[in-house]
């Protein structure tokens, strides 16, 4: 299984960056300055299948934010991408018969959009929790990418269910000047947004995902899906390095996976693995910690488990170690967290 890193040319320029650039240009930013340091050239836009690397994309995003301002940009960019009829995936998402199908197709064709985040789903009572995790080290741009993805998903969900009651949790701290920014967010997202949370996620009521009775697929839908499938076939489909390792670690839980083991699974040496992780500002144990943290919160939200059971499922030797680790991740003891989640 291949994993992409910063330098791999894996993002379609047209699908992921062109709208961001056009949007910034309409707001008075010069193309030359937007592209400085990115390694993208104006001529590249005329090549339909041109790909750029995550690193180039992240530099571009930084430039755009500097030149246009960061308040509204992720929301606007998300809308621009979703409503761009020239992108086959966007067109496909517009004309799906149901929300469930739209989300499924988005996941299936995720390599054609912006696969900088990995998605994990779990059920919590009557909600589906769509959880977003960085697939590669995003550095300073993490907040921007998360806001972009959340915006995209929210707009998509609203298209199929305009009155949906959604909730958003973000791990970033609230903006420095809350009154201006929060109003921006509220205006665009129109849902309750909480900051400083344990994870980045969207809570979607399960009833929205009901599959309707069999409907006739529209010609637009069939055509767009055909193009997407063709593109998918031409594409090298790989996930981000962090996402790949996280997945392996998760599969191996409750066993504590070692770097050597995972490296062998990926057909690379363990020192290469560590070096690559270092580029993303992550260490192997940090990633494993994150996976356990994520799993612990997921389990706490889904089931009523005792600390001993949780410790066992997460590969801790005893309850005490688990409690201490949990406190380190969240600043709370598991019991306090349970109470918090109930309210």
């Amino acid at each position: 299984m291949q994993a992409f890193s910063y330098q791999h040319k894996c993002l379609l320029l047209y699908n992921s960056a062109a709208d961001l650039i056009k949007l910034s240009q309409r707001r008075g930013a010069a193309l030359q300055r937007l592209l400085t340091g990115t390694g993208i050239f104006p001529g590249d836009f005329h090549q339909p299948g041109h790909r750029i690397s995550p690193k180039e994309w992240l530099t571009l995003a930084e430039n755009c934010q500097q030149l246009v301002g960061r308040d509204e940009l992720p929301m606007l960019a998300a809308d621009a991408i979703l409503y761009n009829n020239k992108i086959a995936l966007s067109r496909l998402l517009q004309c799906c018969p149901s929300l469930l199908q739209a989300l499924t197709l988005l996941y299936y064709f995720r390599h054609q959009s912006l696969p900088l985040l990995s998605i994990s789903l779990y059920r919590q009572q009557h909600y589906l929790n769509i959880c977003l995790l960085p697939a590669i080290g995003l550095g300073k741009q993490q907040d921007f990418v998360i806001a972009l993805a959340v915006s995209f998903l929210l707009t998509l969900i609203r298209q199929y269910a305009p009155e949906a009651e959604l909730q958003v949790e973000l791990s970033q701290s609230p903006p420095a000047r809350p009154q201006y920014y929060q109003q921006h967010w509220q205006q665009h997202w129109q849902c309750e947004t909480r900051f400083n949370c344990l994870q980045n996620s969207i809570m979607l009521p399960l009833q929205l995902l009901q599959q309707p009775a069999r409907v006739q697929l529209s010609a637009d839908f069939i055509q767009a899906r055909f193009i997407c499938r063709q593109q998918r076939r031409l594409q090298q489909r790989s996930d981000g390095l962090l996402a790949v390792i996280r997945k392996k670690q998760q599969q191996l839980l409750p066993e504590n996976s070692s770097a050597e083991h995972i490296a062998a699974m990926l057909n690379i040496s363990s020192s290469t693995l560590k070096r690559q992780l270092h580029q993303h500002n992550y260490s192997f144990s940090q990633l494993l910690d994150e996976v356990k943290n994520h799993k612990a919160i997921k389990l706490l939200r889904q089931y009523k488990l005792t600390n001993a059971q949780l410790a066992q499922r997460l590969g801790y030797s005893d309850e005490h170690n688990f409690r201490r680790a949990f406190k380190r991740w969240t600043g709370l003891l598991p019991s306090a967290c349970k109470k918090l989640l109930k309210t």
Binding site: D19, K22, Y83, R158, Q183, H184, Q187
Partner: protein
């Protein structure tokens, strides 16, 4: 911008070359010992600075009489100054000396005069440009707070203005109103026309609303498709009337395939925390959203 001024640049280049060529032609080179380095440094700096002015003018200004005056004034000044520098390396004899003296002393003051006229014209131009800003700006200028798309000021500027209005007018018992304007179903427009089309609609609506406001009012872009106007010396009923008027005017840019309309809400600005006021404003305009959604769907 400089592509507009290629002819001017050619003239400037020719003038400077003439200066150097005349000096080379008529002059007798001085020996190394005769060079006065302080003079060379001083006069050289003057030439460089004048030439940099020319570049700034060419970079920043569109074509026009004011630009011409500034540019050719600068050119003449640079011409004289460059002869001055060449003076340090060459000396002249007989009639040549008179000619060179003439060339050194006459163009400089002419150039200065032209520059002065140019700057006076620039001032006049600025005054007229300020008039264009009416309705967009009140007492504060800060380009960082501008919304880059509509070139209206953003929510932060609105708060500053509201704060000042509270301090100034309310204490004197004068009323002041806040008019909220929100485009109906803007996301549907976005969906139909794409992001570029949506941006165009925002820009058009901003221009239209601006043209309907009075000269004392200030329009800001609050967020997304929501605008807010501060109307000093206005009662709520007057503000509502103005809102209704703008609603009617919106039909001018609305098309049958793309019905554009706005909903408005007017609030009186009182002595209250700004966050409360803005919250109330947002609630007031969201309240009418559901009714209009239903209307829109019937279309």
């Amino acid at each position: 911008m400089w592509e507009l001024h290629i002819r001017k640049l050619t003239v400037a280049f020719a003038l400077l070359s003439t200066a150097i060529l005349t000096a080379l032609h008529y002059g007798i080179p001085k020996t190394f010992n005769q060079y006065d380095w302080f003079d060379i440094l001083g006069e050289g700096t003057v030439v460089l600075v004048t030439v940099s002015w020319l570049f700034i003018i060419v970079q920043s200004r569109p074509k026009g009489p004011v630009t011409n005056k500034l540019f050719f004034g600068g050119c003449l000044l640079a011409f004289s100054c460059s002869l001055d520098v060449m003076d340090e390396f060459f000396h002249y004899a007989g009639t040549d000396k008179q000619l060179m003296n003439f060339l050194e002393s006459i163009p400089a003051p002419t150039g200065m005069l032209l520059l002065t006229f140019g700057i006076a014209g620039w001032l006049l131009e600025q005054k007229l440009l300020y008039r264009q800003l009416h309705g967009r700006e009140l007492f504060l200028r800060n380009h960082r707070l501008l919304d880059p798309l509509t070139t209206l000021y953003s929510a932060e500027y609105l708060q500053t203005i509201l704060h000042r209005e509270q301090e100034l007018h309310l204490n004197r018992g004068e009323s002041c109103c806040l008019l909220v304007l929100d485009i109906n179903q803007f996301s549907a427009c976005n969906k139909k026309l794409g992001a570029a089309g949506g941006d165009k609609i925002l820009k058009m609506s901003a221009e239209l609303i601006l043209s309907q406001l009075r000269s004392t009012d200030v329009l800001c872009r609050y967020a997304g498709d929501r605008f807010m106007a501060v109307l000093p010396h206005t009662s709520v009923s007057e503000a509502r009337l103005l809102g209704r008027h703008i609603q009617q005017q919106m039909r001018r840019i609305s098309r049958p395939d793309l019905p554009l309309s706005i909903r408005t809400a007017a609030l009186e600005v009182k002595q209250q925390p700004l966050s409360e006021l803005l919250h109330a404003a947002n609630r007031a305009v969201s309240h009418s959203r559901r009714q209009t959604t239903a209307q829109w769907q019937t279309i």
